[in-house]
């Protein structure tokens, strides 16, 4: 039912896009980029893992796009997205060997440290424009090279497609054995091990999936913003992703995208309403969400929900 609803929404968005003002279209596109990252976060979140360094993979994906179009002359959007996904997935696979051994706050801290290292490297590398970053030239779509406003739309449709693909894939994964062991892992790793499956490797897999998704998100961001800079790897960026995850809650995959959109809208609205104090509004929203709308918080806050959801998964 939820699936049908989301599909309807997607279809509507796809059709309506050309008739919407473009600022809305690009707003939604950016939200989708965030949403893709958040979908990945949900996977980890359910297992009780919250990375404060997911920007590491986000930035990897974004820079993968920027660099391969700048230095390898690759222009096809689809190809670029694939490259970004592979690059980020690979990074996730490598750091996964380390990260997968950690839990709770230590997991958060270590992932933060790793992303800050990338940040440092990017800032140092003047050839990559240091903090000014580099522009991403317009991509092509299977030979079709839309420009101007058509380009904005093309990127939007691409993003939408990717969002659907990601949502389908992740829901599929979450209902698989490996995917649905999230709560067991959070509850009792020893028992999981004694049932004959490696928690570390399960977590590692989750990391790779989440990392890849973050990379795709980064790619979309790079294509729609047409610019990448090291701030994409800074811890505040990761903080933003976690923020959205809270807003959306880990309960459902489509919620991630809705949450991301809500977040963007709140942010841009606050900037318009209170130019000097938009962080204040943002922070208050986050706070109020946590305090008074914990349902938005998915399973982590109230164990009961965790279990109900689990029923959805395992029963």
């Amino acid at each position: 039912m939820g699936a049908a609803l989301s599909l309807a929404a997607v279809a509507l968005a796809a059709i309506a896009a050309p008739f919407l003002p473009l600022w809305i279209v690009s707003l939604v596109t950016i939200s989708i980029a965030t949403g893709l990252v958040v979908v990945g976060l949900i996977i980890l979140w359910r297992a009780g893992l919250v990375p404060f360094g997911q920007a590491l993979f986000f930035a990897t994906g974004a820079y993968a796009v920027a660099l391969s179009s700048r230095y390898l002359g690759l222009k096809d959007a689809f190809l670029l997205v694939i490259i970004a996904a592979i690059a980020a997935g690979f990074v996730a696979w490598v750091v996964g060997f380390l990260l997968a051994r950690y839990r709770e706050i230590f997991f958060a801290m270590l992932s933060l440290a790793l992303s800050m290292i990338l940040y440092g490297v990017l800032v140092k590398s003047e050839t990559l424009g240091s903090t000014d970053g580099i522009n991403v030239s317009s991509a092509t779509f299977l030979g079709f090279a839309p420009r101007g406003q058509a380009y904005t739309l093309a990127v939007f449709w691409l993003a939408l497609g990717l969002a659907v693909a990601a949502a389908v894939f992740v829901s599929r994964y979450l209902s698989s054995v490996a995917g649905s062991l999230a709560i067991p892992i959070r509850d009792n790793e020893i028992r999981v091990e004694y049932l004959g499956i490696s928690v570390t490797r399960l977590v590692h897999l989750k990391l790779v999936i989440a990392g890849t998704l973050a990379g795709v998100g980064g790619a979309v961001a790079a294509l729609t913003i047409a610019h990448v800079d090291p701030a994409m790897a800074y811890w505040t960026t990761s903080g933003g992703f976690v923020f959205v995850t809270i807003l959306a809650g880990a309960a459902s995959v489509p919620a991630a995208f809705v949450g991301a959109l809500v977040f963007e809208i709140i942010r841009t609205a606050s900037v318009a309403i209170l130019p000097g104090g938009w962080q204040l509004i943002l922070g208050s929203v986050l706070l109020l969400t946590i305090l008074f709308v914990p349902e938005g918080l998915g399973s982590l806050v109230v164990r009961k929900r965790g279990a109900d959801k689990a029923k959805g998964e395992t029963a």
Binding site: V177, P184, D187, Y194, G196, R303, T314, A315
Partner: protein, 268 residues
């Protein structure tokens, strides 16, 4: 009758503390063995070494002829040696059904990561096995209760039921009746043994209550000070001098089992 599990010259030391030494046991297929001994006598250490939670300092463990010494607990589980725990290890925020289902699913499809990621949790076979297990262990009527809210006995049964998922050939039960009132003990053991009947599972269970041991074990291993001081049919073993002096005597003024020292942090 061939031996499914053989332990030779097994020894475990934590720094200067010797938790187990010179343990030699051969377990024939299908036997039910009661392991007795005072706290810190090395029972749980023994179980932990066989199931790969601890790596022996010396000695060999062979399962179906293959050396499993120092393998990880999950490999050993995969090979067919399952265990339950002194303090039931279940998933508190899942319901009984979900707990069992997870266990069955891992047993079925947990073999490879790819397979685990591809196979659906709710495959028909898994659900079947789940239902079956719940009925066999007589906990079907708790199916929708969250494990955290279960009565002690039921949680223990769930723990054991989960261990039996995928039909292990050897099952080690660490104090299956600990923390359970005397009158319930027999009932629980009956359920367990009933559920295992006809599976030909080899069972080793750690037990403090000698009546339970006498009733259910067809062989007894008596531990004292980290090693086996008596090994034989219950009647003999329990009649043994040292057993009576060190164990059955001791068990009288035993309070509920807590283990500290040698056996490590036995209480979860």
């Amino acid at each position: 009758m061939s031996d499914i599990l053989t332990v030779s010259g097994l020894e475990k030391t934590f720094g200067s503390v010797v938790a187990a030494r010179d343990i030699n046991v051969a377990v024939p297929v299908g036997q039910t063995i009661g392991i007795i001994g005072a706290n810190g006598a090395g029972k749980t250490t023994f179980v932990n070494m066989i199931t790969g939670h601890l790596t022996p300092s010396k000695g060999k463990i062979k399962f179906e002829g293959q050396d499993i010494t120092g393998r990880t607990s999950r490999d050993i589980t995969r090979l067919g040696i399952a265990r339950s725990f002194q303090v039931a290890q279940v998933f508190p925020s899942l319901t009984v059904f979900e707990n069992m289902c997870a266990a069955a699913a891992i047993a079925r499809d947990g073999g490879g990561l790819i397979r685990a990621a591809a196979a659906s949790l709710r495959s028909a076979r898994t659900l079947e096995e789940t239902e079956a297990a719940l009925t066999q262990f007589g906990i079907a009527r708790f199916r929708d209760m969250r494990a955290s809210t279960l009565p002690q006995g039921v949680r223990k049964l769930l723990d054991i039921a989960m261990a039996t998922a995928g039909g292990p050939r050897v099952l080690l039960l660490d104090e299956p009746t600990s923390g359970i009132s005397l009158e319930e003990k027999f009932g629980i053991m009956d359920v367990i043994m009933g559920a295992l009947k006809g599976r030909g599972t080899t069972v080793l269970f750690v037990e403090h209550d000698m009546d339970v041991v006498q009733r259910f074990a067809d062989r007894v291993l008596a531990f004292y000070d980290g090693t086996v001081i008596a090994d034989g049919p219950p009647a003999e073993a329990l009649a043994d001098e040292r057993v009576r002096e060190f164990i059955t005597g001791a068990v009288l003024h035993r309070t509920k089992p807590t283990a500290n020292g040698g056996t490590g942090h036995a209480q979860g």
